[in-house]
Structures are given as C-alpha cells and as structure tokens.
C-alpha cells in the first residue's frame, strides 16, 4: 500500500516538473499539429506535405498532420479557430471558403478568428472549354451568351464557392444571362466539360492542369500571366476586367502567443524561399505565391467586403 502511494507521489512530481518545464522551454518544444481541412491526398494536403518536407529542414520539431475534412473545409477551419492559441495547433485555410462559409452557412468562425501566418498558393481561375469546342475565345463565349439568353451552360464547383462568385461577377459586369450548373468537385466538373454537359467551365488552374490534353484554356483571371500556362492571356488583356483566385494559407488561432507567431512566420518564410520547395510545388502543379501574414490579412479583409456585396446583390444573403 505504502509502495503504491510513493509511486503516485513520484508520478505527480514528474508531471509537475514536465508541465513547468514546458512553460519555461523555448517554443516549440513538442511537435506542432497541422490541421488539414480536406481529405488526405487532396490538393490541399499535397501542398501541405510539400511544405512539411522542407519544414524539417528549418525547425527541430515535427509537424503532425491531423485531418478534419467535411463541409467543404468548414469543419477543419472551425477546429483551427477554436484551438488553444498556444502555437501548437496551426492549420491550412482556403480563401474564399473562410469568407463565404460564415456568410452563407453560419459557420462558427469568421475571418477575424485567425492569426494569419502566410499565403502559400494563389490559384487563379481560368475559363476553359473542350479541345473541339466551337468557342475559340472568351469574346466568342460572351457574345454567344449575350445573343442566346440562358443557353450557355457554365460548369462550376459550388454553390457559394469561389467559382460561383466569379460567375456572379461576370454575369453582373457583362450583362448576360447564362445557366450555371453546379458540381460537387473539380473531378465531376472536368468530366462534365469533357462529356459536353456544359459548354464552358470556370475552374482553378491547378484542377484543369490534370486534364491539360483535353482542354483549351481561353483566359486566366489573374493580374498577370501564369508561368504554368504563359501563352494564356489574362482576362484583363482580353478586355474583361475579372480577377478571381482561390488562395491557400496557413494560420494559427486568434490571440496566439506573439513569440510563437514570430517563429512560425520565420520558418514558413524560409520554406517559401527554398529552391527545392519551389521546384516541388511546380512539379505538383501548385501555383505558388508567398505573402506574409499581414499582407494576406489585408487581402482577406478586402475580399470579404467585395464578396459580401456580390452575394447581397445576387440575393443569396441578406
């Protein structure tokens, strides 16, 4: 009996020592959880895994991947927002998902629930058609849509997604009625375009790269041309002022320890400048673009105002 008591006392001591030890040790002294809001093997996961490969080069602690997929990422994003802000839980975020989910689906977080570490990917949206499509340019598509109200079918992933916002912006700006057809994911969307169920699709560059041989990319909704498809003109060059992206970023919960945030920012910045990382990203078809936390935060807040106005105008939210 006495022996057991001593043992307990010893364990209690050890526990206290280990806790107090943690408080004094330099951050990070244990592995850091990385929440991925999409399934393992998906595009977001592939990008984060490439980051992890180089993380080990600049940090002595490992990243532990935790998958929390569901509801288009909202489950994982909530998990990041509600995590303890001790710097040991961070995760990947997608924009405009984190803007739209609180607006449309009453998700339990907002764009102010996060401390942004950096932007890693800026995936512009493109206008794509089948190789044998009768449309050879964006201009022809828009002219057809204007002349034949509602006849043009545009494939989108959604609803209430980045693609949907681009669609709303286009029909609002260029005043033509078209029929959107929504798909659950980019695989279905690509299949529908190739099978002729829709005439055109607005999709991400990363997604159309998979079926590159079967598609013609007619325009890219980015500010400047993209190195993956340098021959494709931007929508602005083509005379249509549309800019639309899906961005991927890393973030910690709001109120995270300042020191921890500084450390994370530093490591991610080093990774983003690593030539090996850049080469791997290119190989995986991930349009890399680094922004630091504060620059990215500004982008998110600007886009929030813009998207909210667009959704209100379309009558999708009050």
């Amino acid at each position: 009996m006495k022996k057991r008591f001593t043992l307990r006392l010893l364990l209690a001591f050890l526990l206290i020592i280990s806790i107090s030890g943690a408080a004094y040790a330099e951050y990070p002294d244990s592995p850091i959880n990385m929440i991925i809001a999409f399934s393992a093997g998906g595009s977001s996961d592939v990008q984060a895994r490439i980051t992890q490969k180089y993380w080990n080069k600049y940090s002595k602690q490992r990243l532990v991947f935790v998958y929390k997929p569901g509801a288009g990422g909202a489950i994982g994003f909530s998990e990041i927002a509600l995590a303890k802000p001790d710097g040991y839980t961070i995760g990947g975020l997608n924009v405009p998902h984190i803007i739209l989910q609180p607006l449309v689906q009453r998700a339990p977080f907002s764009i102010d629930s996060f401390e942004y570490i950096c932007q890693a990917v800026n995936d512009p949206q493109v206008v794509a058609v089948r190789k044998d499509s009768k449309f050879k340019s964006v201009k022809e598509i828009f002219a057809f849509a204007a002349a034949n109200p509602k006849k043009l079918r545009i494939g989108l992933v959604g609803p209430n997604s980045g693609h949907h916002l681009m669609f709303l912006e286009v029909i609002e700006k260029f005043k033509f009625p078209a029929s959107p057809v929504f798909y659950k994911g980019s695989a279905d969307q690509n299949a529908a375009l190739l099978g002729g169920e829709v005439d055109v699709m607005f999709g991400n560059l990363n997604d159309v790269m998979r079926s590159r041989d079967e598609l013609n990319i007619l325009g890219i909704a980015s500010e400047k041309r993209n190195a993956f498809v340098p021959e494709v003109k931007t929508m602005r060059e083509l005379g249509f002022d549309v800019v639309s992206y899906i961005r991927r970023a890393f973030a910690a919960p709001k109120g995270v320890d300042k020191k921890a945030l500084a450390y994370l920012t530093d490591v991610f910045k080093k990774i983003a400048a690593d030539p090996g990382y850049l080469a791997d990203m290119k190989k995986a078809g991930q349009p890399e673009e680094y922004l630091d936390g504060s620059a990215f935060s500004k982008v998110v807040h600007d886009q929030y105002q813009h998207d909210k106005a667009a959704l209100q105008k379309a009558g999708l939210i009050k």
Binding site: G70, Q105, N160, K184, G195, R212
Partner: protein, 513 residues
Amino acid sequence: MTEFIVPALGHLIEPWNIILMVAGLTGGIIVGALPGLTATMGVALMVPATFAMNPTSGLIMLGAIYVGAIYGGSNSAVLICTPGTPSSVATTFDGWPMCKAGRADFGLYTSLVSSAFGGIIGTVGLLFLAAPLARFALNFGGPENFWLCLFGLSTIAVMSSDNMMKGVLSGAFGILISTVGLDPNAGIPRFTFGYYPLVQGIEVIPAMIGLFSFSQVLYLIGSHKPFIAEFTPTKGAFMQVTRELATKCKVVLMRSSLIGTLVGMLPGAGGEIASIIAYNESKRWDKHPEKYGKGSIEGLASSESANNAVIGGALIPMLTLGIPGSAVAAVILGALMAKGIQPGFKVFTTTGDLAYAFIFSQFAVNLLMLPVGYLLAKVMAKLLSIRLTFVAIAIVMLSVIGSYAIRNNMLDVWIVIIFGVIGYFASRVSLDTGAMALGIILGPMIEENLGKCVDISKSLDGSVFDVFFASNITIILMLMTALSFVTPLIMNKRKKRRNAACACGTPKEDGHA
C-alpha cells in the same frame, strides 16, 4: 504498346516490387476487413510513403492496397455481417447467411476467387479498352447518373419482394437520413438543429457500422449463443468453391465483372452501386431467385466480382483523362500528380513504361491475392472459434475507433451508437437495414444529380423531363428501372405458378437460414 511490355514485366519481377505487392495486399485486406477503415483511407495513408519511392513502385503498392482493401471488405461482411467498405453491402446479403449456416469458409473463398476474377476482368478492360471506354464514360452526366442511382435503388424492390412495403419504408428512411447536412444545390444547412458539425451530414460509413455491426453486436449479446456461428472447416472447401464458380457461376461472374468495369469508369459511381446492380441482375436472371439472400454462392460471387472489377474501370478515366472514377482513384491521381506525372492518353506513350508496369501489376496483384487472401481467410475464420463475448467487445472497439478515424470526429462515434440502436429495433420489426443503407448511400447522389438536371433544364427553357428524354442512355436506364420494379411481381407470380404445378416443394436450397 509492344515496346513497353518487356520493361514493364521487368519491373514486376524486381523483388522489391513483389514485396511491395504482397505487403500492399496484406495491409489492404486487413484495412478493408476492419469496419470503418476503408480502401480510400488505406491508400491515402500510404501516399506519403510513396513519395520516398520511385513512381513505379509507389503506384504498384497503392494499386495493391486498393485491390486488397476492396476484397478485404468481404471478410467482415461474411463473418460478422458488417460490410468492411461501402462496396460490400451486397456481400452481406448472402455471405452472412452462409456463415450462419456454418459454411463461413465457403463464403470467404467464394469472395476471394470472385474478387480476383472480377479484378482481372476489370484490368483487361483497362488494358485493351481504355481509350474507347473513357470516351463512353463521359456520356454519363447528371441525368444519366440520376437514373443510374434510381436503378440502383430499385434493387430494394427485388431485395424485399416478400414485403415490399417494409423495404420501401426502410429505403425512404435512409434517404431521409441522407438529407441532413448541406443542401448540395442551394449550399445552405438543413436539419442541423443548431448543431454545427451536422452540416457535414451523416457520414455513410459510421451509419453503416451502426446499422450492421453495432446492431449485430446487440443482437448477438441478446442471443446467449457461445459463438457467432457454428463452424468447422471443410476439407477441400477451396477447390470445391473454385469448381462451383467455374461451372455454375460462369455467367454470373462474367456479367457482374462487366457491370463492375462499366460502372467503375463512371466518374460519379463506384463499387457501392456496382455491387448492388450486379447482385440485382444476377437475381433477376436466375431461374431460382428465391435462393438469393439465403446464402447462395451466386449472390456472393456477383457482388464481390463486381466491386473488384470496379478498380480497373475506375482507373480508366483517371489515367486517360485525369478524371478519377472513384474516391480511391482520386487519391492515386493525387499521388501521380505529386510525382509530376501528367494524366492523359499520352500516359501510354510518354510514360508508357510506368503505365504498363502499373496495369500488368494489377494482373499480378489479383493473382497474388489468391494465396495471400487464402492464408488470411484461414486466420480470420478463427474469429468464429473465439467466444462471442470477446468478439463482441472487439467489434465494438473497432467500430468506435474506425468510425472516429474517418474524420477524427466524435460525432461519428455517436452516429454509430445511435444507428446501432436504430438497426437493432429495425430488424426486430423486420425492417430492412440493407435497404436503409442503400438509401443513405444513394440519397445524396440522387439529390445532387437531380440538381444538375434542374440546372440544365433552365438552359433548355423546359422541364427536367425534357432533360431526361434528351439522352438515349437515360431512356434505357428509365426503362430498366421500370422493369426492375415490375420484376418482383413477375417473380411472385412465377413462384405461385410453380408451387401450384409441383407440390414437391421448392428447388434445392443452400440455406439453413
């Protein structure tokens, strides 16, 4: 193609690749057999490991895990009436009665041989018909998939031909459950009752674990039996099964494998529908449909050959068009892309070495599965000689861990428990849990595809019926669905007539169920 055959075969006889195939198969079968761990998860978990390998070895291993896991799902379906993966729901219909009748080894071997056969037919399709089939698969859009799912759902009518009302009621309950979560067409939450995690909906796998395995545990504990089922291994069971499959079930195996290959390559549909449709068709065309559901070897063979044939089918659009035909194919696609390999018809020329090594490895994997699966089946059958109390505890533990592992979410554990209770009471009043599972699986697909039809109809200035009648495939599927609903009536009539004509009773049956 010919110039790639020799180097591709060269890859296959590398010892390292053979080890990876065997390891992948073993791991896959175990993952598939554990309720809650699915093929998708097994393959996804191993993707990071492939980053350290050369692309060919990595791809060969992922393919082996895929094949193993889809077959492995049948082990738990036969032994504890729990589909290990959603693809093996239809395997429980005849596998479990077989096990209850003390013929568990026959069930396991039937699954094994049928799976390998289906896998090989699917791979033949992949090897020789990839180009034309990929183009054909693209014809399946919203309206076609909508009717394909309804056709799958019509199985309920055939399944529960003796009490159609209860079957339909069970299916409707399943569909109702599937409406919880985000509306796929409006993107707003439904039936979440203010509890945010419900926006992700009721995940199929925990619901199935609950309906089948948890409820089974409740039932078994209440039954006071010492073991799950009586079982003494029969000598030469494997040879007997193989002989029976080669003679009696030739047509069933062939038809089911073709159905599997065709359904597999459709981007929206996978093993869960293929096995159900194959089962349905086997029963429809059989001279003695009444033996299905009572432990018939044909029923088991059709479901298992179809879901393994799906693999070859699902890889067709993935390799040629970059469009995955199943969730697992999507994960493998991700691994390919991460290696910088661009899918497309050129995959057979520019990276032909890799593509053909992968396809040939699929043949090898399906053949290797026979010895590997045989040994594992012997081990798994031992489960039946463990006392029920221990087995019950193990099943509950695995169910909870497996369901949590899907999304790392406590909600899924609650779903298992709640659906366990629902399943238990449902079988008490002889509602059909199989039909409920079909409703839960097919409900979201039906709704999503109907939404596309409505979207498309707006561009035609017409109704959804204009969309339906615009496609020949849809019209054929509509006719088949109608036929499927009438079949039970015809079958009942036939049965009555036969019973009247011949008083010597129904034909010989396998079942002691």
